[in-house]
């Protein structure tokens, strides 16, 4: 059954790849060596340089070229949601012991940039730090590895992970692009060393880092993937303002921004530069989430929450917003390109997705009247990031007004926005769900109640939802897991009306046409080690 689902996944990925508006050129061309790639990172920089600890792409886009990982999404097929290949391991192992034990062989002869050999002990030390960090060390994605029982490194080339239970979410979680392999010797001396320093075994060696300005790397001549990297080096420039990034690409002071640009920027660049610009586009494993504070009146009333969802015309809205923002696809709680995602017919049964918007809004008005909230007035907390939070927020305010709600926005910078959600100081919040490797079971864990998933800010209690999730986590038959996923989605959006996914994002990456070899993926966290990029100059 699992192989059937794998095939279905591959087929879906293939269909997704076909649907991507790729303007790939030079796929059959022989890569040229040399040159320095300059790219822009749309941020000021991350809080630290430690991939295990951080969640922002700003850290990953700056540091991924310096590091190796154990397993990764296939860099030649990154749009796939199920094509995983080895980076440091020699082969993806078949699990033994009823699917509970994975024994990896580590590639021989790999060296860290300081010349010391990389062994299974370094891999194990890094993974132990990710799965069960020592006191005082934080691991952003430790929650993704609740299934891991123990990690062993019996010799220099063998790395063994034993699971508590078999689950479909393990392999995608293992391909975490932030799971950098650090030197055990360094970690043994200081667990915090990597927060301020860089030393890996990736395709590029660290040259210099100017905080908030730029980071530079030079080719690692000892890199273990034959022939790679093609570039002599790279320079990444931090540029939080969109106009600056646009100007940089327009003037060829930077070749690409790997996160995403809005449709207007893409259109401007194409108009100005013609065939000197290539654009790759893809559905994005990120989306906005509308989160009513389930613990605060009147949103402690499920009727009010449902009315909130029923006011929104997602089908028409997403289509129009796609012209002005980095959003496009209507979807449920699972990335629309995944075999686990709801079909349109399945979605249309949930509040917030009804195909007949007039009927949907009439029901919203009825529910509000029944709840005594006909003139509901509230403030929606939003983040001061225009693309797409600002645009989606403005659209939602107008949608709510169509059922008589009076909504204002409290738009604040990222820090106060997160802080307000963590304190529960909001009525309704517009937040986002951004994941790296498409891992439907693990990714949907973010909809669990706050006491199980601390970064869920709906502040709801729902034992039924938790029970469904636990069943799904332990289910190894993909078909049955998909059925459970529908139950989980229905409980989250339909029955409990805890949170609503509003429009999935859409990645638009315009780049100078001389940049070759890079392929877009559904996540801006993936495929960023730059090893396969070359410059046709």
């Amino acid at each position: 059954m699992r192989s059937w689902f794998l095939k279905a996944g591959l087929a879906a990925s293939f269909a997704l790849a076909l649907s991507l508006s790729l303007t790939l050129s030079g796929q059959a061309e022989t890569p040229k060596r040399g040159g320095i790639l300059t790219y822009v990172i749309p941020a000021d920089g991350g809080p630290s340089l430690d991939g295990h600890k951080e969640t922002t792409f700003a850290v990953l886009h700056a540091t991924a070229p310096f590091y190796s990982v154990m397993v990764r999404v296939n860099p030649d097929n990154p749009s796939s949601t199920s094509d995983f290949v080895c980076d440091l391991c020699t082969e993806i192992p078949k699990p033994t012991d009823n699917g509970l034990t994975y024994t990896f062989k580590i590639r021989p002869g790999v060296k860290f940039h300081d010349g010391t050999p990389l062994t299974a002990h370094d891999v194990a030390a890094s993974w132990r730090r990710i799965v069960s960090p020592p006191p005082g060390v934080s691991s952003a994605r430790a929650n993704n590895f609740v299934m891991v029982d123990k990690i062993e490194d019996p010799d220099d080339t063998t790395f063994v992970i034993t699971l508590k239970f078999d689950t479909l979410s393990f392999m995608p979680a293992l391909a975490d692009p932030y799971a950098y392999i650090y030197s055990k010797a360094i970690l043994d001396k200081d667990q915090h060393w990597y927060e301020k320093n860089i030393m890996g075994s990736g395709p590029f060696k660290f040259v210099k880092f100017e905080i908030g300005q730029s980071i530079e790397g030079v080719r690692n001549p000892d890199y273990y993937h034959p022939g790679q990297p093609y570039l002599d080096g790279f320079k990444a420039i931090f540029a939080p303002k969109e106009s600056v990034r646009l100007d940089a690409i327009r003037a060829d002071r930077a070749a690409v921004e790997f996160r995403s640009m809005p449709p207007s920027a893409r259109d401007q660049l194409i108009k100005l530069l013609g065939d000197k610009i290539t654009v790759q586009e893809s559905d994005w494993n990120c989306g906005n989430v509308l989160t009513p504070n389930n613990a605060r009146p009147p949103f402690d009333d499920v009727r009010v929450r449902k009315a909130l969802f029923l006011a929104i015309d997602q089908w028409k809205g997403a289509q129009a917003l796609a012209k002005i923002a980095v959003v496009k696809t209507v979807g449920g709680i699972v990335f629309p390109g995944s075999p686990f995602a709801a079909t349109k017919e399945e979605l249309e049964k949930l509040p917030g997705y009804w195909p007949d918007i007039e009927k949907s809004r009439a029901e919203a008005r009825r529910l509000l009247k029944e709840a005594g909230q006909e003139n509901l007035t509230f403030e929606m907390l939003n983040r001061n990031v225009d693309q797409p939070y600002g645009i989606v927020g403005t659209w939602l305010v107008d949608e709510f007004s169509k059922v008589g709600m009076h909504v204002t926005q409290r738009v604040v910078p990222t820090g106060p926005w997160l802080d307000a959600m963590r304190r529960g100081d909001f009525a309704v919040a517009l937040e986002a769900n951004c994941q790296n490797v498409v891992n439907p079971v693990a990714d949907s864990g973010r909809y669990l109640p706050h006491d199980l998933y601390p970064e869920n800010f709906a502040y709801h209690k729902d034992p039924v939802q938790v029970e469904i999730y636990n069943k799904m986590l332990h289910e190894t038959d993909p078909v049955k897991a998909r059925v459970l996923m529908r139950d989980f989605e229905n409980q989250t959006i339909g029955v409990g009306a805890h949170q609503l996914m509003v429009t999935w994002w859409y990645r638009i990456v315009p780049m100078r046409s001389y940049v070759k070899g890079w392929k877009i993926s559904p996540s801006h966290y993936l495929n960023q080690d730059l090893a396969n990029i070359w410059l046709d100059q």
């Binding site: 002005i324 403005t394 305010v397 007004s401 204002t408």
Partner: protein
């Protein structure tokens, strides 16, 4: 023997209409400014009657449309009618501008006159506090206040009002110091009148000329400050129609493909501030006795 006849009959009182006509004749630029201010006030406060569309309603069938008979000033990226948003934006500008200027002005007036009248330690404390607030440029001070209290109309008004208070207080105090030495103030003191009566009845009316000029200029400054804060994302929030906010986001993004999104709100800000400044200058000339007789 010759006799000199002194005509001590009172000068004829001019009606408001005659005063207005005289102002218009002598101050054509000020009149132009007044017309702009009146137009802004009328459009702002009767926006519901004038605006052709709901300023916050999205119309996805009319996104980034250029000016046409349907949308005289075009539409923004959400398909919202720019003319309607500018008309409603005048209300936001006036509410923020007038409230900040009046509250800031009157607070400054009370502090300035009080500071001059009482002198001594009271004067010292008020003036040193004013020095501290005035050490920061208006926009920086406003940014700090908004950063502490958060965005929104009320907080923006407060953010702009606070830096205006010492500016007004300083100017009013300098006039009030002269008035304090006038014989009629001494006479009032000799009659045993209290400080409040002397300040309110004898000093405040005699510093009204510089005060009114200050308040007029404050309206323009407050409108610009509101637009700046909104442009920086710290003022009023979407979808409230406000000129500064209209210059943010979409206006930048569509500057080359839909320039009308940026041009018309910019023109509205420019005309409003120009009108208020011209009117303020003319008021100063009209109220200054030395300039009035020229």
């Amino acid at each position: 023997m010759s006799t000199t006849v002194i005509d001590d009959a009172p000068l004829p009182q001019r009606s408001y209409w005659q005063s207005l006509m005289r102002f218009c004749q002598r101050q054509p630029l000020g009149t132009f400014g007044l017309v702009l201010v009146v137009i802004m006030a009328v459009t702002g406060f009767s926006a519901e009657l004038i605006a052709p569309y709901n300023p916050t309603a999205n119309d996805f069938a009319a996104m980034t449309e250029p000016p046409s008979w349907q949308h005289l000033l075009g539409t923004d990226q959400f398909g919202r009618d720019l003319m309607s948003r500018i008309i409603y934006g005048a209300r936001t500008a006036l509410i923020v501008g007038m409230t900040s200027a009046i509250v800031g002005g009157f607070s400054g007036l009370i502090l300035g006159v009080g500071s001059a009248y009482f002198g001594g330690t009271t004067d010292l404390i008020i003036q040193r506090l004013s020095d501290i607030v005035m050490a920061f440029p208006l926009i920086i001070m406003a940014l700090a206040v908004v950063a502490i209290f958060g965005p929104g109309v009320q907080n923006v008004i407060m953010a702009i009002t606070i830096p205006l208070i010492p500016r007004c207080s300083r100017v009013v105090r300098s006039s009030a110091l002269t008035v304090r030495e006038m014989p009629y103030v001494d006479a009032a003191r000799a009659c045993g009148f209290g400080a409040t009566r002397i300040i309110m009845r004898h000093m405040v009316p005699n510093v009204m000329a510089p005060f009114l000029i200050m308040v007029t200029s404050f309206v323009g400054q407050a409108i610009l400050a509101e637009a700046s804060l909104s442009y920086l994302g710290l003022g009023v929030q979407e979808p409230v129609p406000a000129w500064g906010l209209m210059l943010q986001g979409g206006a930048e993004e569509y500057a080359s493909t839909a320039p009308w999104i940026a041009i018309f709100p910019g023109v509205a800000i420019m005309l409003a501030v120009l009108g208020i400044n011209l009117f303020g200058d003319a008021m100063r000339d009209a109220l200054d006795p030395k300039l009035r007789e020229r």
